[in-house]
Amino acid sequence: MNVIIVAGTPGSGKTAVLLNTVRHLKEQNKNISVVKIDCLYTEDHVRFAKTGIPTMLGLAKDMCPDHFTIFNLGEMIEFANKNHSDILIVETAGLCHRCAPYTQGSLGVCVIDATTGPNTPLKVGPFLSTADVVAITKGDIISQAEREIFRERILEMNPSCRIIETNGLTGKGSTELASCFCKPLSFDYLDEQLRHNAPFAICTLCVGEKRINKKYHRGVLRHITGVEEYVGE
């Protein structure tokens, strides 16, 4: 089974692009399962379920949604296996710019909104730089010049990625994306590893400290001046 992990900021067009892609995959008689991970609330699972494919929902609540995705991949795979799926698509919440939920043997797909400005590719971090495929959305509402600059900036951050210009409204690029989803991958849950190590509970705030005064904080702390220190035992 191919595991496809899709990341991208909220509203970037992940669901819209995936719905178009899923349609092509179904035409090719692929058996697909979809898992939607979000933080607090989503209706995406309903949008996917309407297409008739088995859909699972996970809410990360106060856990980093990417950590939640990684931690629960086993259950998702079990779900897709039970459905006899050829392809498991995981749409993540994509809020955390420190994390990238892609594993070595999955296909990492980053969905990025071209209207967010030419500096966005420089800001979003590992979920762009470690992706295999970068799907650019909303190119329909910016100038050719901005599209070209955006593309160039993406290649600066991730020179080996495959860029696909997609449109969530018209379905542009979704056949190309569908063909990427079908290329054989080698996902092995037992030995599967992340591409990018996720920072986990590196300071006391991560584990629930609410007081703001500096004296209460322990762990690996970075000051706004750039100085990094470890405070603790």
């Binding site: 050719q144 593309r151 210009e165």
Partner: protein, 265 residues
């Protein structure tokens, strides 16, 4: 080098094969795409932009220089041969016109000094002057579209340009088409505008998702196009007058032959 683009038929929305054998479009040619809203004009443009290979909903195939383009040409963004311009497009980058053009020139591997030429030509297409220090995001629709046209003409420099309804932008359309086609590009223009439609050499008529027929512009139409262009320029001038707070007299309109008195105005 792109010498020609060919469109091979697919199916219309009812699943019926399109009626043409193939449409070949050669370097330097301007072809119109006309038809009511929802008739499949933008889908045709999108097929060409993606170099469709029976893999889009219309099942059309696009050939370049008489051959199926190889995967590199289809997928490598560095090899982008096709530029697109549309009414919905805006400049969203928060920077000055000059900085933006320089960034684009750099990214296309060109001399950043070209930015002045781009601004000069953009100013030929609009009545509202664009300065190099203006912020992109405050440009009017007409200024933005003029700058996009000049940018596509001189910076993107793609051999194929797809234009999707730019008529309401308030720019000198005829001049814009001339600027774009000047350097031997292939141009396809989706339009409802008689001036734009008649200034092409041929126009593809769309209906229900498919190509219905192809009309070659007649000599009579071409001759009329000259007159339409005069009307268009006059309207643009009036538009600027209204905008700058002038009161327009009937004499002003009729003297310039914008509309003749017989038209019921």
């Amino acid at each position: 080098m792109i010498k020609s683009i060919s469109i091979l038929p697919g199916k219309n929305r009812a699943g019926i094969n399109e009626k043409f054998e193939r449409i070949d479009i050669y370097q330097g040619e301007i072809v119109g795409i006309v038809g009511p809203t929802g008739s499949g004009k933008s889908a045709l443009i999108e097929d060409i932009e993606q170099l469709a290979c029976s893999d889009t909903p219309t099942q059309r195939k696009i050939l370049i220089n008489d051959a199926v383009p190889d995967a590199g040409l289809r997928y490598d963004p560095k090899k982008k041969l096709i530029a697109r311009l549309s009414q919905n497009m805006n400049f969203l980058a928060d920077m000055s016109v000059e900085d933006f053009l320089k960034l684009h020139l750099k990214c296309r591997g060109k001399d950043t000094g070209l930015s002045e030429k781009v601004i000069f030509y953009a100013n030929q297409l609009t009545g509202e002057p664009i300065s190099k220090d203006s912020n992109l995001t405050v440009l009017s629709g007409g200024q933005s579209r003029s700058l996009m046209v000049a940018d596509v003409a001189f910076v993107s420099d793609s051999p194929v340009v797809l234009i999707d309804e730019i008529e309401n932008a308030g720019i000198k359309k005829h001049e814009a088409m001339k600027l774009l086609s000047g350097s031997g590009k292939i141009i396809l223009v989706v339009t409802h505008d008689p001036l734009l439609a008649l200034s092409t050499q041929r126009r593809i008529v769309m209906k229900n998702g498919g190509v219905e027929k192809i009309i070659t512009t007649t000599e009579e139409e071409s001759a009329m196009c000259v007159k339409l262009n005069q009307i268009d320029r006059d309207l643009l001038r009036l538009r600027e007058m209204v905008r700058s707070g002038a009161v327009i007299s009937a004499a002003e309109i009729f003297a310039r032959n914008v509309v003749t008195a017989g038209d019921g105005f």
